[in-house]
Symmetry: C2
Subunit: 203 residues, 2 copies
């Protein structure tokens, strides 16, 4: 706690710095969801968050800086993995969590905007990959546990299994626009489970 | 042919209108791949294509108009489906075609830019969905033939099978940045084949 009062800008949970960060990132996320990265103006973020412009420019510097910190916060606050004792049920929980997120009006547009921004901005691309690395790492024990239980081969690649669950849902969001309904989420989880059981996700 | 000389702007293959369209769409695609939709300037497209600015503004009107016509041309000129006599081999050909496209430096960046543009621009989103509809329709007979051969249930949803092949490849391009290698393409095709054989892609 002593460090918090002597280090400017340090993260004291519940402190003023943390509250400013929360407000600024909430406003940045709202603007990204509404209008996309091309229209993310740090001055407007500051106004919406009710903080001074100089605070935003000093701490986050650029729109890409705001996006990178938003992705860090999203990784920090995202939900923990499932632990049902069955690979199929764990993957179904994962698929439903991804589907729920992408179907949420604000979150779906926010993810689409973040992914769009990453195609044009290398800093955002790095931050986005780090976000997905964090999420894949969080859920990896589900696949390791299934291997320990003997459900799937021990050399199964957890990242490949989890990517197979999420991919069909993101594909709909970003390309065909087909609805991400519960049938889609269930199919994604069941296909990945079947492929894992059959040993397809091995080197 | 008579119609071509009496209807201004009609598409005579090899005619001046067709050559202008080809040059303009090539320049638009190059700029999209290099810098993205936010920096797609019709005047710069005209200069690169070696045509007058007014020609571009009159015929395509806006950057979104250029992108919509580019997607129409991409659908018109894209490769025909495979017809190997085996669902696994057809889906493998599809996966390798998608992987080859997304790994091509120009094409990969072009698709990323088009998908990014579609997240923010409704006209582009409609054009992009139409492009994927065209591609899915082109490959649908592969799934119907497999059903006729008795490989998979007759009520299998072709769109779901083909989406399952493409999705893991697009997911890597757009989110994790993991390489889209031949192992990835093979795995996508084999997982989709296995799920189709198991009857997962039915209503």
């Amino acid at each position: 706690m002593n460090q918090d009062t002597t280090t400017p800008g340090s993260l004291r949970p519940g402190g003023r710095t943390a509250r400013v960060r929360e407000s600024v990132l909430r406003a940045a996320g709202d603007l990204l969801a509404e209008r996309g990265f091309a229209h993310l103006d740090p001055a407007e973020v500051a106004a919406r968050a009710g903080v001074g412009k100089t605070t935003v420019y000093r701490r986050w510097r650029t729109p890409a800086g705001l996006v990178a910190d938003l992705l860090t916060e999203m990784a920090e606050t995202s939900l923990p993995r499932a632990d049902t004792g069955s690979l199929r049920e764990d993957l179904l929980a994962n698929a439903r969590l991804v589907a729920h997120t992408l179907n949420d009006p604000r979150q779906g547009k926010l993810f689409a905007s973040l992914i769009a921004a990453a195609t044009a901005d290398p800093t955002t691309a790095t931050a986005l990959r780090h976000f997905y690395d964090t999420r894949l790492t969080e859920w990896t024990p589900c696949i390791e546990a299934a291997a320990t239980r003997g459900e799937i081969p021990p050399e199964t690649d957890p990242r490949a299994v989890l990517s197979a669950v999420a991919a069909p849902l993101y594909y709909r969001l970003l390309t065909t626009g087909d609805p991400i309904d519960d049938h889609t989420a269930t199919l994604a989880a069941e296909s990945a489970t079947l492929a894992a059981h059959s040993g397809l996700f091995t080197p």
